[in-house]
Every structure is written in structure tokens, then in C-alpha cells.
Symmetry: C2
Subunit: 412 residues, 2 copies
């Protein structure tokens, strides 16, 4: 089979997708169910139709584009990723897996390949937690990792429920209907930028993911007492922000204390109330993210954070309430899929590393219902979630080629 | 002279003014030149006209309501305060000095008093720094403490200049015209809630202010490097928020280190960019407020903050840029005015304390152009800048009575 990737077209499509953005170029902001997200979805579905794929959307907006196989009753082979983007991020995170997946299918069609199993390209809704606080919303629902009733009660920062927001975006029906049967796919492969520096440092063009780290995310809400910045004396203060500052530093200390390079913890969000220069903060909400390959070590960090919250809030006479958003198990990727990806790289003479993903992805949840692995390509300096995120057209093309070849083998 | 305060009417007017608010009751949010602020100004001017006062507004919206004296060429006696309110604050800060000042004038009129000097009630624009970052905007301009060109370039958080915003609110003309001649007032007295706990603790109904503490406020902007919360390893991070957390704690330590009860320092505002739960913060802006009765001690705190910013930013490989918003001298109130207020209290048998104001007020700037003092009344638990700010009708009435009596003596 003579597989060729149309790199110029794929590059152009990535550029076009980046224009559906609420931030000026080169930054990309595409929040789930925003007008830009909805416009991007329309554009994307048009590409699917032009490629001759059958398109289906579920009640939460997960989009499925199917290339019907000669034996359509067999479980399909899946690929795909997400297209939403956190504020002021880049253009490659997720999108490479969706548009690369599409180009892989087009390449197979051009080569005259006829799959026995159907090949299905997925675009998952809200991989990013920006709007509803929880990441991988679509794939959690698909895999049954999140119940429909819990999901429908999620609220965005304007207090609108997921139920309202998805209805306004045109996605109706019970979220119960989103869940897929285990075994509906025989295999799933997600193409993605690495979002870390290892492939670039080692000058290796491809990474095959053998495990995905265990993520947890949480809110910590600190309540103290507000007052006038001039008039409230220092010994009388119960300053919520200073307590929050100590709690954020305690989380960092917890991550450093494990001694493991795979332990990472971040306070990415800090909302201060009332948030005025001459008022003592009365309430602060921190958004925190804690990850490790080893779930016990990850939970050890969470335990240390909990202890620190107790100590700090007692000493500063505030309250600190921890609310877990998610605390997921890690996954080990399916050896059979890893083997197919490795054999494909070897056949084509591409060097690869087997590696773990410290970032988590929809594949973490899809792996609960079918054999799954991921294919990583390098990104410059490991930068991601920032405007200067970058992968070369060659790297994207190479990843797409290996993906196409692997899908063909998995669909035979 | 038989002076009586219409406490019921004054209480009702304070209640009405509190309804011009962007926050639900009992909280008050009234940002300068917001629709609610403009509606409150219209309502207030109507009250002035009903009281028979001549109303004038200057180019920045400072409002002057004059009761013409029998010798109108003499410098007038001034009183007044502000009506803007920080987000989710209370209904007494500033408003007691404006509506109390109005009721004092009405009481003098009812008693048949005829002043030799004109008595002028001032409502200062933007005492609160919420919108433009700098407090006492109106009185700074009146007193020449802020130049017109510097003021016109101030921007609000939406990037609109003061010049645009005041024009949209209907205030035109050069800000140079706002400045008053020194000597335009023979005396100025501002009635205000204490915003601290001392009068209540000591069960004293009135405070006469002998000095106003030296305030400083500043922005600290920390720039680090963003990235993915899962993928960027801890040793590679240049997290702007963790640096900001340490800087805020260093400011608190600087305030505690003076050993003086009058040293206070606050980080009231913290903006995190991009501000997402799964992204390492790349930039943080802190809004800080530092005050002391002793300007050298205050500047000592600022020096320690500066050193800490240097140490922390070197260690965490970020940059920290300090931008002073204001760094004002303290003021000593005019002994002659303090004496008049003290004699008035004694004559009426009201206990009083002479005290310093740790909060700063428009009087700090008006004191640069005329003899000035302030009259404080207790507020519950010293609470201010919060929805449960409260002074009793009796306390407000007593303060208004002393103010009226003192204005009469100063206007003779």
C-alpha cells in the first residue's frame, strides 16, 4: 500500500482551525460550546462529509465520523482527540489528533485501502477543564467514568449547568445515552503532541505511550474575614489570601518531597474575593492539579496537602474546604496496540521511544472500555498550553503516517 | 441655637443611597461612573437643590453644593466625603459624611442660623481605587497632589482612560480646571465612620482625628513561564503564582517585623494568567497596600518588600516588577480645627478621643490646601469594606449634630 500524507493540506487545516479562536493569533482560546467552538465544529463536520464519512453527534457533542468497513458488524477501530483549547494556548494540543486522524483516513482511502472493520474518528467534547472544572468530560461519559446525573449538575463559572449549556449549543437528550458499550471498539489510538521535552531532547521522532499518569484535581476554598486594608490591625486579621499563599506553597513542597520526577502539582487558578487593592481578602478559591505515574504517591501528595490545609487554617483562623473534582486511576496501555505501533515504526525505519504520558488525555478514559495506546510527536521545548506551542509539519506528517498504517493493520 | 438632627430622614436617605448598587442588599457595589453611581449622583443633586444649595460639578465629577454666606467673598467652610463603594462593601463608608453633611446644613437652616462664610458640601469623585487603581482621585486633583496629565492617562481594567470614561459620564473639560486655590476654604471637616474598632471598644461616641496615616499602594507584576500542569517537570518550572505567594507572605512579614501596631500591609488583589486549573501560571499581578502613621517605617516595609522581590525572583527564575501607584506623606490635622471639634463635644457633654486615622481619606489631600480635621463615629466591630458594616442611627445623628455645631462656629 502506497501511503502518502498530504502535509501541506494538513498544515493548512491546522492553521484554519486555529482561526476559530477568542484570542488574537498566535494564541488560541476555544472554550467548549463557545461560539468559536461551535463554528469550528461546523467546519470540521464539513471536512468529514467531504471525506465521505458518516457523522454522528451524541448528547454531549462528542462527534463520531465513521468510515464503514466491509464487515460493519465487527467492533470498529477508533482514533481521535479533542479540539477545545484553554485560554491563550496553542494550536496543536488535541487538534493534531483530530485533523491528523482525518488525514490518516484520507490517506488510506487514496491508497485504495478497504478496511474490514469500520474506522471511526472521534472528537471528544471538553477535554479541557476550563469551563466545567473537570477534564475529559466527553470521554468520561463515553466510558461510564462519570455518571450522567453528576455531569448534568456541573456548572460553569457563570453558574449555568451543563444541561443548559449543551441544550443552548444544540445538544439534547439524556446523557445516559452517551455511554458506549465496552467492546464497541477493538482498538483505539490517539495521536498527540508530547507536551513535554523528552522526544525533542533525545531527538526521537515518535513516542509510543505505555502508561498514562494518574491525575487529580481539586478546589480549595479558604474563608477568612474581610475588612479595610488600613483599619484592620495585623493581629486581628484572618486573611484568606495569605492562607491560600501558604497552601499553594505547601502543595509545591509536597510534590518536591516525593523525590520522584513524575510527581507534579500546580495551583493554576486563584480567585480572590472581593479582590480590591484596599480590602483584606475574605475568600479565596484555588484550583489545583496533582499528578503522578504512581497513584499512591499522588495520593500521598494529596494527604500532605490536606494536613497543610488543616495546620494553616488553624494558625490563621480561617477555614479551608477541599473539594475533589477528580481523582483518577492511571492506566497501562494495551500491549497489543503498543506492539502494533512499535512494529509499524520499525517497518518504516522510524526511531521511537516507549514512554509514559504525564499529561492525561481522553485515552485515559477510553482505555477503560477498549485496548488503547497513544502516539506522541515532539513539540518544541516541550511547550504546551501556551501560544508558542509548536510541532513541525514533518513531525505531524510522520505521526499521521504511522497512525494511518497502524489503523490499517488494526482494521484488517 | 436649637439644633436638631432629623435622624429618621437621614437614616432613610442612607437606606435609599444604598439601593444604588450593583450588588444585592445588604452589600453595596457602586463603582465610580458606573450607571448606579451616575443614578446616585442625580438623586443626590436633587436633595441638594431641595435644600436650597447651589450645585456645581467640576471636570472630574467632584460635586460642590454651596450655602451662600452673608459674606460670600470670604473663604468658605467645607465638609463632605465620597459616595463610591468598593465591590460588596457596606452602606456607611463615605456616605455618612455626604448625607450627614447635608443634614447638618439643613439642621442649621431649620435653626435659623445664617452663616457669614459660605458652607460648602463636597462629594469627591472616586475616593476608592477600585476602577482606576488610585484612591482619592478627586481630592488629589483638587489639591494638586496629582497632575491633570497623569490623571487623564489612568486606565480602568477594561483599558479605558479616565478621559474617555469621564466624558462618557458627562464630565468634560480639562482636568487642570479641577485644582482649587490654596486658601479657598478656611476650614474643612469630614464626618466618617471610624473603620476600626477603637471607639466601640472604649465605648466612646466620637473621635477627633489629629493625624492621617501615610498610605502607599503598588502593583507587583511577576512574569514566569507557563506550560502544561502535567507535562512540565517541577525542576523546570518558573511558576509566577508561587513566586507571588512568597512575595505576599514577605509583605506580611515586613509589616509584622516593625513591631508597631500602626504598620499594616495587605495584598488585596491577585490576578493569575492564564488562570486555568491545568496550566502553570505565567504571569501574576498583585495589588498591594502599605500604611503607617510613620512614613519612614512605611517606607522601611516597602524596602523590605523590594529586597524580597529580588531574592524570590532570582531563586524562582522569574521577574518581579514593582510599580508604585501612590506613596503619600501622612498629614497632621490642623490644631485649630481639632480644638473647635473638641470644644463642641465638651459643650454638648459628649465624650471623645483624639485619634489617628489608619485609613486614609479625601481629607488627607484637602489638608494640603486648607486647615482640616475629621470627626469619627463608631462602627460595629470596626467592620468596613464589607456588607455588615454598620453604625447606629444614634451614632450617626450625634456625629451630624457635632458637625453642624462645628460648621456654625467655623462659618461665623
Amino acid at each position: 500500500m502506497n501511503l502518502t500524507i498530504d502535509t501541506a493540506r494538513l498544515t493548512r487545516e491546522l492553521e484554519t482551525l486555529a482561526t476559530f479562536s477568542d484570542a488574537p493569533q498566535p494564541a488560541v482560546t476555544r472554550i467548549v460550546f463557545s461560539e468559536q467552538d461551535l463554528r469550528a465544529r461546523v467546519w470540521l463536520k464539513q471536512l468529514y462529509v467531504e471525506a465521505g464519512l458518516d457523522v454522528r453527534e451524541d448528547a454531549v457533542g462528542n462527534t463520531f465520523a465513521r468510515w464503514r468497513g466491509t464487515d460493519p458488524e465487527l467492533p470498529a477501530v477508533g482514533t481521535g482527540s479533542h479540539t477545545d483549547a484553554i485560554p491563550h494556548s496553542g494550536r496543536y494540543d488535541g487538534t493534531v489528533g483530530v485533523l491528523g486522524g482525518l488525514e490518516a483516513i484520507r490517506a488510506l482511502k487514496r491508497a485504495g485501502f478497504q478496511p474490514r472493520r469500520s474506522i471511526e474518528l472521534l472528537m471528544f467534547t471538553s477535554e479541557e477543564p476550563t469551563r466545567f472544572g473537570i477534564g475529559c468530560l466527553g470521554s468520561r461519559l463515553l466510558s461510564g467514568s462519570l455518571t450522567a446525573s453528576a455531569a448534568d449538575c456541573l456548572k460553569d463559572s457563570d453558574g449555568r449547568t451543563l444541561d443548559e449549556v449543551r441544550a443552548a449549543a444544540g445538544f439534547h437528550g439524556s446523557l445516559d445515552s452517551v455511554r458506549l458499550d465496552p467492546g464497541c471498539y477493538s482498538a483505539f489510538v490517539e495521536l498527540h503532541i508530547e507536551q513535554g521535552p523528552l522526544l525533542e531532547r533525545r531527538n526521537v521522532p515518535l513516542g509510543i505511550v505505555t502508561a498514562i499518569a494518574a491525575p487529580a484535581s481539586l478546589w480549595v476554598t479558604i474563608e477568612g474575614e474581610g475588612g479595610h486594608a488600613g483599619a484592620v490591625l495585623m493581629p486581628d486579621r484572618r486573611d484568606a489570601f495569605l492562607a491560600a499563599a501558604e497552601i499553594a506553597l505547601a502543595l509545591e513542597a509536597a510534590a518536591l518531597s516525593t523525590g520522584a520526577i513524575d510527581s507534579v502539582a500546580t495551583t493554576g487558578l486563584c480567585e480572590v474575593f472581593p479582590g480590591v487593592i484596599n480590602g483584606v481578602p475574605s475568600r479565596v478559591r484555588l484550583g489545583m492539579d496533582v499528578r503522578d505515574i504512581d497513584p499512591e504517591r499522588r495520593d500521598g501528595m494529596l494527604g500532605k496537602l490536606k494536613l497543610a490545609c488543616g495546620d494553616i487554617s488553624r494558625r490563621r483562623r480561617v477555614t479551608a474546604r477541599i473539594e475533589m473534582i477528580n481523582q483518577d486511576a492511571p492506566t497501562t496501555c494495551a500491549p497489543a496496540i503498543v506492539d502494533v505501533l512499535a512494529a509499524t515504526c520499525e517497518k518504516r525505519g522510524f526511531a521511537f521511544d516507549k514512554m509514559v504520558s504525564r499529561a492525561y488525555h481522553d485515552s485515559l478514559f477510553i482505555s477503560r472500555i477498549c485496548p488503547t495506546s497513544m502516539l506522541f510527536i515532539p513539540c518544541r521545548s516541550g511547550f504546551s498550553h501556551r501560544p508558542d506551542e509548536y510541532s513541525t509539519p514533518e513531525a505531524i506528517s510522520q505521526g499521521t503516517l504511522v497512525l494511518a498504517d497502524a489503523l490499517a493493520q488494526l482494521a484488517c
